[in-house]
């Protein structure tokens, strides 16, 4: 019998040029427990290789707070990938 991996359900958001690039603004995703924000982004780069070049010029937020890339996701999280901000 294989090991059962627990998964968590999260919401992922993309904004600005990232949203435009991949044509996706929001989706609900189910991921293995223990996934980091970095790991989550990597999964998206497999689906959308064009995202790869933006990894160095973006930040990520978890539940409306800027977060470190090695942060682990938890059930119910709202994760957003954010290009450099340009309000004002």
């Amino acid at each position: 019998m294989g090991q059962v991996t627990a998964t968590v359900r999260i919401t992922v958001l993309f904004f600005g040029r990232l949203r435009e690039l991949i044509g996706l603004s929001e989706e609900v995703d189910e991921l293995p427990e223990g996934t980091t924000l970095s790991g989550l982004f990597e999964r998206y780069t497999k689906r959308y290789p064009k995202l790869t070049e933006f990894r160095g010029s973006m930040v990520v937020s978890r539940n409306q707070e800027f977060a470190a890339w090695d942060t682990h996701i938890a059930a119910g999280d709202e994760i957003a990938f954010l290009p450099p901000v340009s309000g004002g």
Binding site: L13, F15, G16, R17, E20, S57, M58, V59, V60, S61, Q64, F66, A67, A68, D70, T71, H72, A80, L82, P83, P84, V85, S86, G87, G88
Partner: protein, 154 residues
């Protein structure tokens, strides 16, 4: 009385009523209001701009704008803050962001207003796309500071 409850922080899709906001922050105990009016420039690096479009991560943008208001209340001897950013399509000359700060004395109002707009431009998740006659580009922008590692983050 905590004047923070009298602050006005908002994202809007219609014309910003700068006069109403300035009136809102101005009270009998104050001696000064300082306002920052950011509006759409008619060119960007020598190219004639047609119009701009702003989008935001709205829930987070509001949270970050409230944080800025908190910080200027802590750092400067001010009274009330109004901070409003507009989203959607904006034409040349239209106000995109308006910040007004009142205080008993002008120094605190100037310093707080400057700090507020500088911090907004670096930390509030809002994005601007510039439209020209022959195309459009996302403005360069600034990367907000983030914790380097979850292990060291508070």
């Amino acid at each position: 009385m905590d004047s923070r409850q009298e602050d006005k922080i908002a994202l809007v899709r219609e014309t910003i009523d700068d006069e109403a906001l300035t009136r809102h922050v101005r009270a009998g105990q104050d001696g000064a209001t300082v306002a920052f009016d950011g509006f759409v420039r008619n060119q960007s690096q020598g190219r004639a701009t047609s119009y701009l479009e702003y989008e935001a991560y709205e829930t987070m943008a509001i949270a970050k704008m409230k944080e800025i208001a908190e910080r200027i209340h802590e750092r400067f001897a001010i009274h009330r803050v109004a901070m409003v950013h507009r989203l959607g399509r904006l034409e040349i000359g239209e106000t995109s962001v308006f910040i007004a700060v009142s205080a008993p004395h002008r120094g605190a109002a100037f310093d707080a207003c400057r700090f507020a707009i500088d911090t907004l431009k670096k930390t509030v998740p809002i994005w601007k796309k510039e439209y020209f006659a022959d195309g459009a580009v996302w403005a360069d922008g600034e990367l907000p500071p983030t914790p380097p590692s979850a292990k060291t983050a508070s």
